[in-house]
């Protein structure tokens, strides 16, 4: 069994990073959060457009995203800022959600603390204390079974379904064999592959949930007035050689391997089970919303498979980009981490490509910086909306 060097949290979780989060409760606290994060060593601001005038089901999803991001094992401590009182999602509500993790939490209210300048000062002092406090955490050995490994694909092309995605599925199998868990979302791209997925479901209830998740997303798409099934595969997909929806979806779902699907999760919801295997989560194909939901579910690390190359990077969950397109790797060499295009030229087998992806994941878990982390290009925090702004 392999081990990685991680940060042991008070609740027993193991993080692969030790971030101080400056978490904005509403859009109107973003400015304070950014100002604090500018000042304090290692602080990461989580800012977004939500938290006001949302219908209740939508606000609940936003709250799961925000609290879940702070609960992620990669976060050592949290300063939460809100601007007044949002019914159902104050800084205190978020702190209550996060508290069971046992990590240090402080809250600041811009109005209650006397305005922008006072709130920045108060939050900055909390943040300074926390930054020093968590700097005392040392990495220690932990088994890879403690890893929840998220996976995503975006800007896909012909090579994705043939190289990066199946290599990634094999990497997941290596982790699962050691007791780890793999999480895949983007249920839009399960359409046409429902049977392949439900065959792996650990119980009939999981199989039913997978089917209803796909149907729900399909209904959501249809409600937009566009029949996506009538246009899947799209014209450019077909020009690129994809003949049917089955072929397109199969390339996407091959990001996971053949292990059982243990649990089906709602968006941004943490698994309740610890059994090794695959976990599926409801969610859109939109990359930033999808990977943010996986970080909120507790994924410490994520592989992002891409044909065209990608810049996506989550602020607290290292995002390892993998491509099977050599030209994309050359063009995007500063943000794409792993090139598995050698499977097409017999330089490596698919099994070797899987091992290469797994080895990169293991290194990143022990602290090796991804290319986008080194660039501090934290571009991919976004929250999925399930209701309108009112």
């Amino acid at each position: 069994m392999s081990e990685f060097m991680g940060y042991l949290r008070p609740n027993g979780d193991v993080g692969i990073r030790n971030h101080l989060l400056i978490l904005s409760g509403t859009v109107y606290a973003n400015g304070v959060c950014e100002r604090v994060a500018d000042t304090i060593y290692g602080a990461v601001p989580i800012v977004h457009a939500n938290g006001r005038c949302q219908v209740a089901p939508d606000l609940r999803v936003t709250r799961r995203y925000l609290a879940g991001t702070a609960m992620n094992p990669n976060v050592g401590a949290v300063v939460i800022v809100d601007h007044f009182k949002e019914e159902g999602m104050t800084a205190e509500d978020l702190a209550d959600d996060i508290a069971p993790t046992g990590k240090p939490i402080a809250t600041v209210n811009i109005r209650g603390d006397g305005g922008f300048i006072s709130a920045v000062e108060k939050a900055t002092r909390y943040a300074q204390d926390f930054a020093r406090q968590i700097s005392l955490c040392q990495r220690e050995a932990a088994p890879m079974s403690r890893i929840l490994f998220g996976t995503e694909c975006g800007t896909s092309d012909t090579t994705s379904g043939l190289a990066s995605n199946p290599a990634n599925g094999l990497a997941g199998e290596i982790l699962i064999a050691q007791g780890g868990r793999m999480l895949m979302a983007e249920c839009t791209e399960w359409m046409g592959c429902e049977n392949w997925l439900t065959e792996k479901a650990a119980s009939p209830a999981v199989a039913e949930a997978i089917l209803s998740g796909v149907q729900h997303m399909e209904a959501r798409a249809l409600a937009s007035g566009e029949d996506i099934r009538g246009s899947q595969p799209t014209g450019d997909n077909m020009a690129g050689g994809l003949s049917t929806i089955e072929e397109k979806s199969m390339g996407a779902v091959k990001k996971i391997g053949d292990s059982p699907i243990i649990e089906y999760l709602e968006i941004a919801e943490a698994p309740t089970k610890s059994e090794p295997g695959n976990y599926l989560m409801y969610g859109p194909g939109m990359g930033a919303e999808s990977i943010s939901s996986m970080a909120a579910a507790g994924c410490q690390v994520l592989t992002f498979c891409t044909g065209g190359g990608h810049t996506s990077n989550h602020p607290i969950m290292p995002t390892i980009k993998v491509t099977g397109n050599r030209q994309s790797f050359e063009l995007m060499r500063d943000t794409v981490d792993v090139d598995v295009s050698g499977v097409f030229t017999d330089e490596i087998t698919l099994a070797e490509a899987g091992q290469i992806v797994y080895d990169e994941v293991e290194r990143v878990c022990s602290g090796y910086l991804t290319k986008s982390e080194a660039l501090r290009d934290n571009n991919s925090f976004a929250i999925h909306r399930v209701g309108p702004s009112i």
Binding site: T158, M191, M238, G241, T244, E246, V343
Partner: protein, 104 residues
């Protein structure tokens, strides 16, 4: 000799991921099967598929070891396999209607 990529050992199609293929090219495989060789019967562009063996009308077209649809005519080894000769079996409201009519 041109090469196409086969992603699963039981597949009956390969995908062009290196040089495009021209009519008359000898084509072999890499990836998960290397036992087949065919003569291309059509020009086949990057990203598109070639039949690695004869596929009879109604037979399943296999990629990833799984069905990506059914042949809607006899497809000869070396032919281009795409929307003109393979049909999806999913989301086919038209087929469901026909089955319902046949059952009445």
């Amino acid at each position: 000799m041109k090469k196409v990529f086969v992603v699963y050992a039981t597949d009956n199609v390969g995908t062009v991921v290196l040089e495009p293929i021209s009519v008359g090219d000898r084509v072999s495989c890499n990836g998960e099967r290397s036992d087949l060789e065919v003569i291309a019967l059509a020009d086949i562009a990057y990203g598109h598929k070639i039949a690695l063996m004869d596929i009879a009308e109604g037979d399943t077209v296999l990629k990833y070891g799984l069905s990506i649809g059914s042949a809607n005519c006899d497809i000869k080894a070396g032919e281009h396999v795409h929307a003109h000769n393979v049909e999806s079996n999913r989301g086919r409201g038209d087929l469901a209607d026909r089955a319902a009519v046949a059952a009445e």
